[in-house]
């Protein structure tokens, strides 16, 4: 237990609306590092796309983040940045939000998987 505590694990970052962020923060995801940079971002109506893009790129560059959870409606705004990210780490997962249900046809991961002619994904 002490050894595990000594080794610092990787983080999960969240980009989404207020309810999504609060939910995952209750789950224990949130952390603000020494530079006062949080690993989550709340997106509302007044958030600019460039701000969202900068935040996503900053999360990509951090070496302590292994998974980025992003609402699909937010992901649609920065689709080109998500498609440009091709390395396996950090993994970018698109999650549904309350107002926008999940659409598999827009998911980059499933779209890439369907490109390999997997019949099980076509069934979905």
């Amino acid at each position: 237990m002490a050894l595990h505590s000594a080794i610092k694990g990787k983080l999960i970052s969240v980009i989404g609306d207020e309810d999504t962020c609060v939910g995952f923060l209750l789950g224990g995801v949130g952390e603000i590092n020494k530079n006062r940079h949080p690993n989550f971002m709340v997106v509302d109506k007044n958030t600019a796309v460039s701000e969202l893009e900068d935040c996503f790129k900053r999360f990509l560059k951090r070496d302590d983040i292994d998974i980025i959870l992003i609402n699909q409606n937010c992901a649609e705004l920065i689709r080109h940045v998500i498609d440009a990210h091709t390395s396996p780490v950090p993994a970018v997962l698109e999650i549904p939000s309350k107002d926008h249900p999940y659409d598999a046809s827009k998911d980059s991961i499933l779209r890439r998987a369907r490109g390999m002619f997997n019949p099980e994904d076509l069934v979905r």
Partner: protein
């Protein structure tokens, strides 16, 4: 065969063995890599199916989490701004462990939980039950999403490994193995060429030795023969292509170069004298000298006459051929020549002189036929 398809290796027996081993090793390597590629593809297909199932689980968990959040919003009061501004240390983190799938190292992400959970005092004033339900739902959703992310990572790495292994298989099968096989074939061809060269060279050497041996045998056999024996020998051996081997001892002086040349000079001198006498006799008779056709009278001896034209025939060999041609000539000419010699030189009574004159007459007749023909 193009030069680029062959490795620059000297063709030798040792290199032939080395190249054969390299071909066999390359084929074995291709077999192993193909099996690895097939195993990776099977594992990849399995992981994709698991990822699909996990995606459904994640979607279900997220749906439950969103529903519980909506319910809490309906019941609860304003508690969100406090959490957004006061989270300092994450209570959940990701731990990365390494696993090996079909010889490919992959990382697995596991979710670790520390403490009792974030914000234990949230919702104390109202809606505490709903807040704890939100916490549980989102924790489950996080676990599902982390597992999905881990599977996604593994699938990507396995795809890259499968692609790399396939490239190696194709490179070995279509580039390396043909080059090694061509080199091996080239070396074997060169070695066979060397063997044929050696065999042919030995055969030529053996043929020359056989020719020399046959010529020497004939020379030795005919040295000590008298006229009758020589005539009988020629008649008997015309039908035979190769004479039998003999081991008769012979006198060295008879075949020395100086002795043979001296006899040839005496023979030419006697030939001139004989021609002048024949011309005088013809003038006395008032008739032209009758031409003598060598082919008509000595057709059977042409096989021996042809040997004179062989550039490899030695002087001794030529002398032996002349003796054979002399014995096959008509008896009348030889008899008349011998009579003339005896009448011209009456004072010499020694038998050695008679033997020399008989030999000279033989040479004269021997020289005559080829010029007439």
């Amino acid at each position: 065969m193009a030069k680029r398809d062959i490795l620059p290796i000297f063709p030798s027996r040792a290199n032939s063995v080395i190249m054969k081993q390299r071909v066999l090793a390359a084929r074995r390597g291709v077999g192993l890599l193909k099996r690895k590629r097939d195993a990776i593809d099977m594992k990849l297909r399995e992981l994709r199916r698991i990822r699909f199932d996990q995606d459904m689980h994640g979607d279900e968990a997220m749906r439950n989490a969103i529903f519980s959040m909506a319910k809490a919003n309906l019941l609860g009061a304003d508690f969100k701004p406090q959490m957004v501004s006061r989270s300092h240390v994450a209570t959940v983190s990701l731990r990365r462990t390494e696993i090996k799938i079909v010889g490919v190292k992959l990382n697995t992400l596991e979710l670790e939980t520390k403490g009792v959970g974030a914000f234990p005092l949230a919702g104390l004033s109202c809606g505490g039950m709903q807040v704890s339900r939100i916490r549980d739902s989102y924790t489950k959703a996080l676990k599902a999403l982390v597992e999905f992310a881990s599977l996604e990572y593994q699938v990507r790495m396995l795809e890259a490994a499968s692609l790399q292994t396939n490239m190696r298989v194709n490179a070995l099968e279509h580039v390396v193995i043909p080059i090694l096989q061509n080199t091996y074939n080239y070396i074997c061809g060169e070695l066979e060429e060397f063997e044929r060269e050696d065999f042919y060279r030995l055969k030529r050497s053996q043929a020359k030795q056989l020719e020399a041996k046959m010529a020497f045998t004939e020379l030795i056999k005919t040295k000590n023969m008298t006229d009758e024996e020589l005539e009988t020998y020629i008649k008997r051996n015309i039908n035979q292509t190769r004479p039998p081997a003999a081991d008769t001892p012979f006198d060295q002086e008879q075949f020395e170069e100086r002795e043979v040349k001296r006899r040839m000079r005496e023979a030419r001198l006697s030939l001139k004298q004989r021609r002048e006498q024949e011309r005088k006799e013809a003038i006395k008779r008032g008739e032209p000298p009758p031409p003598t056709s060598f082919i008509t009278t000595h057709g059977a001896s042409l096989s021996f006459a042809g040997r004179q034209r062989d550039p490899r025939a030695s002087s001794g060999d030529l002398y032996s051929t002349k003796r054979m041609l002399l014995s096959s000539g008509p008896e009348r000419k030889s008899a008349s020549n011998v009579t003339e010699r005896k009448s011209d030189t009456p004072p010499r009574n020694s038998q050695e002189t008679q033997r020399r004159s008989s030999q000279m007459s033989k040479d004269v007749v021997n020289e005559d036929p080829p010029e007439e023909s």
